[in-house]
Amino acid sequence: MSEYVVEAKHVCKSFRGIKALDDVYFNLKSGEVMALLGENGAGKSTLVKILSGVYTRDAGEIYYYGKQVGHIDPQVAQELGVAIIHQELNLCPHLTVAENIFLGRELTSSGLLSDKEMNRQTAELLEKMDLDLRPDTIVGDLSVSKQQMVEIAKAISTNARILIMDEPTSALTSKEIDFLFATINKLRNEGCGIIYISHRLEELKHIADRVTIMRDGKYILTSEFSDISMDEIIANMVGREIKEKFPRIELNRGKKIFEVKNLNAGRMVRDINLELYEGEIVGIAGLVGSGRTETTRAIFGADPKESGEIILDGKKVTINNPRDAINAGIVLVPEDRKKDGLCTRLSISENISLPNLDFLCDKLGILSSKKEERLVNKAVEELQIKLADVQADAASLSGGNQQKIVVAKWLARNSRVVMFDEPTRGIDVAVKVEIYNIMNDLKRQGIGVLFVSSELPEILGISDRIIVMCDGRITAELDRNEATQDIILKYATMFENKIQSTKEA
């Protein structure tokens, strides 16, 4: 009976009539890493949120250590020895590292906070994790990957017997991922049960003992990791077979479309030079925080530039804000669709037409709803966006379809250069392929495609040329034939002389 530290049976959960979990079964043993897999919206996060008391289940039984548990809230979960690292960063930016780590379970002596003791214990913990951080640093001042490490430290510090990690690696650097895996292995050996959620299937071979697969809110299967092949995993996640994970089309390189010369913008964009040609996709690889996003934003005019030239079809263009870029024909599909891509309270149709109002409006600025309808319908059709009504709020779509909307709004206009920043992040395998096909279409039409990604397999699979960035600089430009994961990683970690860079910072 108590073979499982966690067991969930017949768990159901609906959000406003939409079933997120439908009769789900799940179990976890102590001393193992259970990988929880599934497409976007499969219900993984919902399941672990129910286990950790963030959401309350509509129905079903949950057993901890063989005993049935009724009501669960975050505090109860904590008492049960459950710690969770959420998919979203969950830190208080105004509080210090130590304050965050002890939030909700502050140490007190006779009712007073013992900040000294908390700082001391935090310092110890950070030391153990080999993190170069002070406990009294304000979290808001840290980089995203450091913040993620603080979250991990927070989870570990609870001495939890059940540790849940919902996509912990999506914001980490490779050094930190190595450390994380080492920690996971150590905790497993100490008898901790770990639930691990990730879309990066290649990570699994380093840590996973068993896998549970979910699809459309339903439980599909549980298996020993060694008993199941990657293709089977994918087939079970998607519900059908994906023939080609990276569809590539071969074209001859045409004339030069676009050139960036000596672009500088802050510490993360230093002396960037790059070129785009017709009939090719250029990938930008690099670790998180290497300045790729900032480079695309600087080109697009979203952030101010210090110096540099941008040349489009042989003509120099001045770009001071996104509108200049859009008018010139350079567009950006931003990396964070919720933050930068979508107006979730506007309709799908309004989102698609937003950047295209210039040609949907007459001289007086009055909108033509006919033109708008035509444009939106065309975009929806071309991208095969699954929706019932273009007047629905964009928030009502699933993540993959939301991402398609973000892409669609740019494809409706005749652009010369389309920059994609992490277009597949957090998106499941099937939609990924559709996004690659969109990029291929653009390539076929002779439009310049710049493609930023942190996932090396897709960079290698889709791009024709690969630019590697590290610390705000371009460290290499590789042809796809000469590029391998190892070579890219070598350049991606080619930091400038360490000591010098510390001083500089």
Binding site: R16, G17, I18, E88, F300, A302, N321, P322, R323, A325, I326, N327, L332, P334, D336, K338, K339, D340, G341, L342, C343, T344, R345, L346, S347, E350, S353, L354, P355, L357, D358, C361, L364, G365, I366, L367, K386, L387, A388, D389, Q391, A392, D393, A395, S396, K409
Partner: protein, 345 residues
């Protein structure tokens, strides 16, 4: 798919707060019926005309506030700009300026306040609550200083045309003030619903970062909303000046709150991105009907306050319960322009 079709009506109702508008319209009808029963005079032709004229100023400032709220900001300076407009125009007229020149100068000065609001909020990223709290205090100071800390004398007979135009005259059986409100509503409703600027205003309020990256000029859009708000306040100031035939320094006191109440009751979200001006009409009407009807019903001010407080809370509560809206997040009003976007994530 099926599920999504089933939700069609829900979606219509959710869209920009249309549902809230429908709900409160029923509320308005019930309210009118109740007041009509309590006192039949409520429905007399005279009182209806009168009532409409009382709703007009609330509606006009409501339109301005709605614009600003839809961009996700707030304008606390409305009441003071009303006072400033009233004092400025009256002072100029008593000093012998031609009424229409005075109106022109007043409009320009009020728009300046709107522009300052826009600059502080969209350029310097001040939280709109603070920025407009500052300009609110300053504009009241200006209202006091223009005539040396005194109310003006009567603007006199030369301004008869001005007074008739803005308040006392009537056209086709409706008071001019009502026409003015209608024209303003018509124009700004059109702009909000049918033009690029309107679309941009919704986009900025819904997600400022996404709007920026879609090529929307945040500064100009935000500033336009504040200009509309100041313009509306200015018109109300002129109406008050026409109504009373003089400038009073404390005219428009706390009108900004009435404007928020009218907008919010009508389904405009204080978090930005949601609301339609039709709702503001209903919200302002509820406000006006309450004031008028409670007075006829003989309710003391205290009861009036309690009823209004309850209605403000209940109307928003109802909206939240009906839509079970997860989008409603806290801090909406307080966040600076820059911060807003992140709230959506």
């Amino acid at each position: 798919m099926d599920l999504e079709r089933k939700n069609f009506w829900k979606r219509v109702i959710t869209k920009r707060g249309m549902g809230q508008v429908i709900t409160v319209t029923f509320g308005l009808i019930i309210l009118c019926a109740v007041f009509g029963v309590i006192n039949p005079i409520f429905f007399s032709q005279k009182n209806v005309g009168n009532l409409l004229r009382q709703i007009a100023p609330i509606l006009i400032i409501g339109i301005g506030q709605s614009y600003v709220l839809i961009t996700g900001n707030i304008d606390l300076s409305i009441g003071s700009v009303v006072g400033m407009s009233c004092m400025l125009s009256a002072t100029l007229m008593t000093k012998g300026t031609n009424p229409w020149t005075a109106v022109f100068i007043t409009v320009v000065c009020c728009l300046l306040i709107g522009f300052v609001n826009g600059v502080l909020v969209a350029k310097f990223k001040l939280p709109p609550f603070i920025a407009t709290l500052g300009t609110m205090t300053m504009a009241r100071g200006i209202a006091q200083i223009v005539n040396n800390n005194y109310n003006t004398d009567s603007i006199g007979d030369a301004a008869r045309g001005f007074r008739n135009f803005f308040y006392y005259g009537s056209t086709l059986g409706l008071y001019n003030a009502v026409w003015i409100a209608f024209v303003i509503w018509f124009i700004f409703n059109f702009i909000l619903g049918k033009t690029r600027t309107g679309r941009h205003i919704y986009a900025v309020g819904s997600n400022i970062d996404a709007a920026k990256l879609s090529g929307v000029n945040i500064f100009s859009t935000t500033t336009k909303a504040y200009l509309v708000s100041s313009f509306c306040s200015c018109i109300v100031g002129l109406i008050i000046c026409a109504t009373s035939g003089m400038g009073t320094m404390d005219a428009g006191n706390s009108y900004e709150m009435y404007a928020v109440a009218a907008s919010v009751i009508g389904g405009v979200s204080t978090l930005g991105g949601r609301g339609i001006l039709l709702g503001t009409v209903i919200g302002a009407s509820i406000w006006g009907v309450l004031q008028n009807g409670l007075q006829f019903a003989g309710a003391p001010v205290a009861i009036r306050n309690i009823v209004i407080g309850i209605i403000v809370i209940v109307s928003v509560l109802l909206d939240i319960v009906v839509r079970n809206d997860k989008l409603i997040r806290r801090k909406g009003l307080m966040a600076s322009a820059k911060q807003k976007g992140a709230e959506n994530a």
